[in-house]
Amino acid sequence: MKARSRPRLDVDIRTVKKARALAKRAGRPIVQMAKQHTTVSVERATLRLAGLSGADPDGTPWANRLLDAVRADTGLEHGICLPVWDALLRQDTRDLNRLAQLAAVGQVRFRIPEGRDAARAQAAARKPVAAGIRKIDSRRKERDRLIKRWGDPQQRPWIYLIVATGDIYEDMPQAQAAARGGADIIAVIRSTGQSLLDYVPEGATREGFAGTYATQENFRLMRAALDETSKELGRYVRLTNYASGLCMPEIAALAGLERLDMMLNDSMYGILFRDINPIRTFVDQRFSRQVHARAGIIINTGEDNYLTTADAVEAAHTVTVSQLLNEFFAKEAGLEDWQLGLGHAFEIDPAIPDSFRLELAHALLARTLFPDAPLKWMPPTRHMTGDVFGGYLLDGFFNLAGVMTDQDILLVGMMTEAVVTPWLSDRDLALQNVRYVVNAAGRLAEDFVPRPDGFIAQRCNQVLGESIDLLEQILNHDSGLLDAIADGTFGLMKRPADAGRGLEGVAKKANDYYNPAIALLDEKPAA
């Protein structure tokens, strides 16, 4: 990130420190808990890093087939690596796909090796997993090289556009057209059902529901299409997808292997908005964040969701609390400030007085608290009513707030939000709106210095104060954050730790649990 003057507010440094300390206290026990558990998806991600790919004729990935077979014989608590590489050594093959095929027809029995066998299995597992991580390292270097060659966008914020046809071969030309039209980041929205699938679909896909499936092949195809357009435009166009839902560790690994550049990846979104089991989510989260850290991927967190389900003024502090928690969990997993695309959104009811000032206050608070994070600024959706003319104006104010408060990633708002999936003309008009505002406002952020005792400053301090109250309220629960999530502290959603989707895919690690990926990801990549 270029060094430049950021707009900021004078908030009391001690209050900010206190808020961070509280977030750390709330988050630390969760990290401990995450370290003590594993999930089917973490283990499958490990297999994928080790090179297992493809699917059986019914479309079930080999990673799932192999994991299910191993789990039936040895359980999940020892991890996948010991039984799998023990079996490979005994079968005298090094081919994971071959082993998965044999396991699928019941020709392999798995066991937990002991003594020297265990040591040999560990060593054998470490090698291919390390090779997978080296591949992620090399994709990261490749990205750095291409950014150097083709360059970053000339302006801030970076312009983020969504593509979603369901058909990857239709998405590619649309994404290329969007990039030529000015998009710096292309996000391929996922098919709506995917977050609840406990497997990653395979191959290039041509049908989806309100989005396109996230698959390794789709990732590869889209990245290649954007590389072509980046070269043509002389500007590296970034690609975004979703590491969320039941398969987030695997999708993170595939994103690293296919050089995706940003991933939606929120610490609590799946729990609160998809009713995925809290433990499953936090374990999967930690692994996926470690992968993202290693892969040089910028994560995008989902604080906008708090505002689309609750009142954006009353719930402003829940955004700040979530940002602080996301920051803690991200840094603990090795992500650096430049990788934290913390989210927030322009969702205040435009009918209330001073709504724009309130938006500026909230956006500026995030800017002040996270000066080095590439904040992601998300457009109005709740108060887009079908009045496309009013919506276009609202999007203009959203763009202006983004420029004034120096946001880094601007998700382009569509005037037809809540009416249709964006038409070609909607996208073009939306980009004109952004271009006009960015161009007309220029570096207005440098001049935007709210009065120290004015409305905006006071509102910032109020929201920060409410955030501290909420964090304290979380810590007053017996088991902190988990209990707070269970009793509906976040919105009205009650999510107990012993319920929710994907719980059956969680296991407490046994003493001999072994997974080289986690240790390798904790190391720094070789420069």
Binding site: R180, T192, F209, A210, F273, L492, M493
Partner: protein, 254 residues
């Protein structure tokens, strides 16, 4: 003016018939494209058509804004609408009716079914926060509201309904592809008919921007709510339908 049965669109003079449309044609922007836009407008009944704005969107497409006069007449007497056939109640009035007539809370189970992940509609109706200045059904003291959220399967919804002894089922469909919202609604109503005897079946209400009010019978539900419906309307309807419709037998106190 309102008592006239035959009307035309209004620009700035009564009867001028002026409308404005915008569209995109898959043509590069040139004179031929503008002519094509005018031709389309003419075929839409806009005559004369004024192409006031044309802009290239990339090399292969052009966006147009067209103003002009339509030659169509609208016969208001032929318009079919479903007028609200129930009184609007305040949360207090609705709760009072439930309390005095049912002597237990009215159980409402809501969900987005199928792959639809958009809870904005169901949340607007159910969450305390509500919509359009009206509080959601959770605010009604005599309603017990269970919001199952998004991506709920029909069997999950039916089993939860039985478990909670639901009086009313609210289903929302916001973002769906092709005709999935119709198919989902049909699947849902069929499943409830199968799972319950006719007189014990909960009231089935479906809502979403792509439905039409007239579709209720075709979908097998008791009522359809469309874009812009408020929690107050839904609550008033379900109290009315539950207590005032003489065909419906009460389940009686649980």
């Amino acid at each position: 003016m309102s008592d006239k049965a035959i009307i035309r669109p209004y620009g700035d003079t009564t009867g001028d018939g002026m409308v404005q449309v915008s569209f995109t044609l898959p043509l590069p922007h040139d004179k031929r494209a503008e002519g094509a836009a005018a031709q389309l407008a003419n075929k839409m009944g806009i005559e004369p058509a004024l192409v006031v704005h044309a802009k290239a969107m990339g090399p292969d497409f052009t966006f147009f804004v067209v103003y002009g006069r339509v030659n169509h007449l609208v016969d208001v007497s032929q318009v079919e609408v479903i007028e609200r056939d129930f009184p609007l109640l305040t949360p207090k009035q609705a709760s009072l009716i439930v309390k005095s007539r049912l002597r237990r809370r009215l159980v409402v189970v809501g969900a987005c079914i199928g792959t639809d992940a958009h809870t904005v509609g169901i949340d607007a109706i159910l969450n305390i926060k509500g919509f359009a200045g009206e509080k959601g059904l959770e605010y009604y003291r005599e309603f017990k509201v269970i919001n199952m959220g998004a991506q709920v399967s029909v069997p999950q919804l039916v089993s939860r309904s039985q478990q909670e002894k639901a009086d009313v089922i609210l289903v929302s469909q916001v973002v769906t592809q092709r005709e999935a919202h119709i198919l989902n609604a049909l699947e849902m109503s069929a499943a409830f008919r199968e799972a319950y005897p006719a007189d014990k079946r909960p009231l089935l209400i479906i809502g979403g921007p792509r439905f039409e009010e007239r579709q209720a019978a075709e979908l097998g539900v008791d009522r359809v709510f469309t874009r812009g419906s408020t929690p107050g309307e839904v609550a008033s309807y379900l109290v009315h339908a539950f207590f005032e419709n003489k065909q419906r037998e009460l389940h009686g106190p649980a």
